[in-house]
Symmetry: C2
Subunit: 210 residues, 2 copies
Amino acid sequence: MAKTKTRERVPRSSADPTRDRILAAAVDLFSERSFDAAATREIAARAGVTQPLLNYHYRSKDELWRAAVDSLFDLLERSMNDRVAEIGDGDELTAAKQRVREFITFSARNPQLHRLITQECKADSDRMDYLVERHVRPLYDRTVALFERLARDGAVPPVAPSHLYYILTGAGPTMFVLAPECRRLSGLDPESSEVIDAHADAVCLLLFGR
Amino acid sequence: MAKTKTRERVPRSSADPTRDRILAAAVDLFSERSFDAAATREIAARAGVTQPLLNYHYRSKDELWRAAVDSLFDLLERSMNDRVAEIGDGDELTAAKQRVREFITFSARNPQLHRLITQECKADSDRMDYLVERHVRPLYDRTVALFERLARDGAVPPVAPSHLYYILTGAGPTMFVLAPECRRLSGLDPESSEVIDAHADAVCLLLFGR
DNA sequence: GTCTATAATTAGATAGAC
DNA sequence: GTCTATCTAATTATAGAC
């Protein structure tokens, strides 16, 4: 595998370090607990501020949640774009494999994204609405279109693309979403590059045959 | 937090219909929300009783959660055993495929199980302890041992069994854990036998080559 | 911008009637 | 066994000092 340069996770600096610390704490706690179970007091404490300050920077807990979600998907999009820019032009299969690898690497380094999705998409709600229509659907549409082309070329097994989508988004991130469980069950460290690369290798082998 | 040491809880048909209704409501709400976000008042309402009655039947919210978890894993174990009994003796590959199919079918009909696991295994806690040591580890150990034998025979791609475990437990249930999202994104109905079978086919194709 | 103090609501658990 | 009434603690949001 080609040596990739380390991509820092620098959330777009909003020129306000306090806002950024609050946002980072919100991402962590909303994804680890859930919207209702994440107390604003605890988010504030992790950000090193007092609880009422959250209501100064964000109108409500709900608005803070939306800002947290936006920042996470923004980070994903920039990571994927960086990787796409790196590979330049090659055949579609090679590009697809690179996208899958980047997706898995991102999910390993930012398990919050899939934790948030599984948190909110188990039942219909306003938050699921926001998440799906604003962020997930564009990704789903692009991924399904890609799998359709790959299946036509025989580059991927003959499986309906929606199933491939849930196979990829399940098989890729689950080991990292459940990192604490994985550590205890297997003794592996899901944060290490070795394990991340091995998992990306495994998923690509299953999906693309190599 | 005092650790209750209750012995011999039998979550099967407990001959007490009220207890059973409470337990079913608890399974649904704990898995859909999370431990903290699931209000005992709401569990009671769904079971058609008043909130203080939960504390009559179960010492605390925590004990109710444990009983709910036990009943879910009990159901899984009985479903897997029934399927194993059906196939009787054949080669190990055929048996393995049957186990995978049954696991996926069960996950589709009872998405609460993986919802609960992803809920609680994102961070270390007493509940994760209970879940992993009491219920998940035995399943993990058996699954990893099976994948090890299959990989030796070349029946499964040459991938470390812990990775295969998280690929299977991710790729199998995710479509059903996120059923409301899947319905909206794809238009498919993840509760229909057609979709369930198609997903089981897809995962088996990826995992076993057919 | 960030704090302290507090209001309004809701949580899980208990007491006691029936 | 199931209810009503209620206690205590914790929740988000607001008011107002600095």
